[in-house]
C-alpha cells in the first residue's frame, strides 16, 4: 500500500483544486480529501470531483473522501455519481428495491 497524505478543501468547492491535481499527477501517494472545512459544492465542483477521480483512477492513486458533512454527503447522494460515492465508501446504488 502507498503512503497517503491528507488534503483539506477550504470553503466553497466551485473550481479545480490545483493542489489535488498535483498530488494525482505525481502519483506516488494515495490521497485523503478532508471536507470538514468545505462549506458548499457547486455544479462545477461536482464535475471537477468526477474528472479528478477519473484521473486518479488511471494513475492508480486511491482517493478517499473524509469528514463529509451531512449536507455535502446528501449532495453526493442526490447527484448519483458512482465514482464520487465510491470515494466516500458509499454502497453502490441498487436498482431493484424491495416491495412494500
Amino acid at each position: 500500500m502507498k503512503e497517503s497524505i491528507t488534503h483539506k478543501i477550504i470553503g466553497d468547492l466551485s473550481k479545480n483544486d490545483e493542489a489535488v491535481e498535483k498530488f494525482i499527477a505525481a502519483g506516488d501517494k494515495d490521497l485523503l480529501i478532508d471536507f470538514s472545512a468545505c462549506t458548499f459544492i457547486s455544479v462545477s465542483g461536482l464535475e471537477w470531483l468526477e474528472s479528478m477521480l477519473l484521473k486518479a483512477g488511471s494513475g492508480k492513486v486511491n482517493v478517499t473522501f473524509i469528514e463529509l458533512s451531512t449536507t455535502l454527503y446528501k449532495v453526493f447522494k442526490v447527484a448519483r455519481i458512482e465514482s464520487i460515492l465510491s470515494a466516500c465508501g458509499s454502497p453502490a446504488a441498487s436498482s431493484n428495491s424491495a416491495a412494500c
Binding site: 458548499f40 457547486s42 455544479v43 449532495v75 442526490v78 447527484a79
Partner: protein, 897 residues
Amino acid sequence: MATTVTEQDLGLMDQVNSLARKARLAAAVFTQYSQEQVDAIVKAMTIAAIDAAQDLALVACEETKMGLVEDKILKNLVASEFQYHQIRYKKTVGIIKEFPEDNMVEVAEPVGVILGLSPVTNPTSTIIFKSIACAKTRNSIIFSPHLMAADCSNRAAQVVYEAALAAGAPRDFITWIDKSPRLRRITELLMVHPQVDLVFATGGTHMVKAAYSSGKPALGVGAGNTPVYVHKTANITAAATDIIISKTFDYGTECPSEQTLIMDSEISELLLNEFKRLGCHICSEEEVDKVAQTVIDERTGSMNYKFVGQPAKIIADHAGFAVPIDCKILLCPLIGELRKHKLVVEKLMPVLGCVTVNSEQDGINRALDINYAGGTGHTAGIFAADDDNIIEKFSQAINAGRIIVNSPTSIGGLGGVYNNLHTTLVFGCGTGGGNITTDNVGIGNLLNYKRVPKRSNFIMTFQTTKNIYINPGSLDHLRGVKTGVTFIVTSKSAAKRGHLAMVMERLPSQTRVDTFSEVGAEPDFNVIKRAITMMRQSKPDTIIALGGGSVMDAAKIIRLFYEYPDLKLNELAVNFLDFRHRLVVFPQKTTVQLVAIPTTSGTGSEVTPFAVLSMDQRKVSLIDECLLPDVAIIDANLTKTLPKELTVDSAFDALTHAIESLVSAYASDYTDGLALEAMRLIFEALSPVLDNPGNVLLRHKLHNAACLAGMAIGNASVGVNHALAHSLGMIFGIPHGKANSVFLLSTIAHNAKMPRKFTSISSYPLWIADEKYARAAQFLNLPVEKKTNGKLALAANIENAASVSLDAKDIIRDQREARKQLLIQALSRAIFDLLEKCGQAKSISELGISEDDFKAKLPDLVALAFNDLSLRTNPSFCLQADIAQLFIDSYPPRTRP
C-alpha cells in the same frame, strides 16, 4: 409507455443524457440552499419575468399565431407577479409546517429532476410559472416546449434562468430542448430517463397521456369543457359581461374558459339580448351548423386546432357568414339532443354553446352533460344569487376541481384575480381527468413532504367511583342518602342472606322503594329490559345495586339504558384496539345516582367502568366512565355469610385482577400501589378466613382487597389470564374465579419470559413484566431460595467497588437476573401454596373436564380467547400459538414451581 431506444435514437441519447445529467447535478447542488437563498433567486426571476412579460407575449403570438398579445401579457404577469405574491412568504426549505397538537412537523424534500412540458396555448406563461415554482422548491427542470411554440417558450426559460443564475442559482437547474423535428422524440426519451423524477405535463391530451404512462410520477392536466349555469336569480348584465371577459380572454385559449351556457328559461331571452347588446353574435340554426362544420374536426369529433385562439370574425368568415369585425363571441344555441351535439365539446376559441332549461334540475343535469363530455374534473361555473342553495346543489353534482361562482371561469380559474384560488397555469382535474390531484397545481405539488411525528404518549388518567365507604358498618351511610324514590337491583339470594332487609331498614323512612330481584348469574338483555320497564313506573332518583358482580354490572347497564333508551347495545359493545380510538361514543353524564353495594369480595365492579352482559350466547363487555357507580359501600358485614367456595372463587378473581393489573401494559404507579396492597391483603386473610368465616376483620381485608384490585383493573385492565378464563368459562361453564385460578401459574410463567412478540402500546415502552412479578414477591416478603445469596452479596460488593471491570459487571447482571428469577419463582410458589390450602383447582384437568373434551374444544377455546379484549393490555403480545400453548400447559395437574 413502451419506449425502446432505437438505432436512430442513439444520436439523440447524448443530448438526452446530457440534459438529464445537468439537471441531476443542479438538483443535487440545490439541496444545499437555504430558504433565504431560494427566496432571493425567486424574487430575481419574478422581476425578470415581469420586465419581459410584454416581449414574451409578443413573440408567443408571433410564433403560435394564437391568442391576443394583451391577454398573453396578463397571463405572463399572473405567472410571475401573482404567483410571487402567493408564494413569497411560503416556507419550502427545512421545517415548513408544524402541527403542535399532533406533536409533528413537516419537512420539505425537493422532488429532484422535473421534466416540464409546456403547451402551445400558454407557452411563455407556463414556462415562467413552472420555472419560478421549481426554483422555490429547489428542483431542477428540463423544459420540453410544444413544437409550435418552442422558440418563445425557450426564450422565456432563458430569461428567468439567467436572472436566477445571477442571483446564485445552481448552474443548469433550468434547461430546455431546442426546437427541432426531434423535439418530441427527445421528450419521450426523457420521460423514461432514469434521472428524471417527475413529469410535469401541461399540453395536449397526447402529451399528458404520454406523461401518465411513462411510469414516472406525473402531474398533468386533462382537457376542460366548462359548463356554466346561469340561474334565474343571476344578475344578467354582470353575468353576460363576465362571460364575455372570460371567453374572449386570449381568444379563448384558456382551458377553464366557458364552453356551453345553460340558461334558465326565465332569463334566457334577456341574457341573449344582453350578449347581443354587448357585441356578441347569436347564431341562427343554420349558422350553428356552419360553425360546427368549421371548428369541429370531422375525423376526431374534437376542435379544429386551426381555429384555436382565433377571433370570432375569422371563424365566422371561414364558416361563411358575416359578423362585425369586432364581434366578441359566436353564441351557438344547441338544439336537439345535447349529448350528441357536435359543439358540445371543448372549443378553445370564442365559440360558445348555449342551451335553455326549464328547471334547476334540468339545468344541473344539462351542465353534467357538458361536464362529462370530455372535461370531467376540470372547471365549471355558475351565476346565481344563491337564495335556495343552488350553488351548493350545483357543486355537489358537478365533478370539477374548481367551480367558479359569479365570475369569469378562465381568469377565475387562474386564481388570485377574481378569487383566492392558488394562482396556476396547471389545472389538476382529479381522477375525472386521470390526474392525481384537483389542485390548482403549484409549489405545493412539487415537494415531497417528510412528516416527522414525535412519539405521542397519551394522557394517562386514574378514575374510580367518587365516594367509597370502606369499613364494616358503612352500610349505615344509606341512612343519610338523599333519595325520594329508590330502585333496588338485586338477586334472589340477597333476600335469603338478609341483605335486602339490611338495606331497606337503613333507607330514610319516607323513601319509596321498588325492588327488582331477577338478576341471576349471567343476566342477558331481556332482564335489563324488564328492569327498565319497571323503572319507568317507579321513576327513581337512585339505583342501589346490591349483590355480586352480575348484579352490579346489570345495574350499570340498566341505568344507562333507562336514561338513554336509544342507545344500541351491539354498537356499545363493538370491540376496539385502542380505547381512545374506539368507534362508539358513550353518553357524557348520568343523572340517576348509582349506589353499588358488593356482597362478594371479587369483581370490584363497584369501582370499575366495566359491565359484562350475555347477548346471543356470547358475552359482551361495555367499558366507559359513565358506567362507574357514584357511591360504593364496602361493608364486610355483608360478606360474613358468603359460602366457602364463593369466598375462594371471588378471592382468586380479585388476586388475578391484582396480578394482571400489576403487569398490564396500562399499569401506572397509581394502579401498582393498589394491586400490590390487594395482593398482600389476600395472602394475609384468605387462608385464615376459611377457618374463621365469621371474622369480620378478615372479611374486611378481603372485601377491601377486591375493591382495591377493582380500582387497579378499572384503570390498567387485565391480561391474558382473563382472556383464557373468559373462554374456558364460556365453553365449559366454569365459574369465573375458578377459571382464573387454573391459568395463573401458566400465565405468570409466560409473561415473565422475554416476549416472542412485543406489544405495541405507546405508553408501554419497556417490557418489565418480569421485574413487576419480582417486585410483588419482594413486597409480599415471600421466602426466596437461599442457594445464591452468598454470590449475591459478593455481587453487591463488586458493584459498590470504585472501579468495576467488565467481567464483574457481567457477573452482577447475571446475579441480578438469577435473583429476579428466584423472586418470580417465590411468587408462583406462594400462589401454588395458596391454591392448595384453599382446595382450589390449579389446572383444567382438576375441573372435571376430560382430556378428550378439552382437546375437542381447544380450537374454539383459542379462537374465543384470542378475540378477548383483555389481551390488549397483556405485557407481551400473545400469538394464537401462545394462547394454545397456555391452554395445553394449564391442563395437566401441576407440581410446585
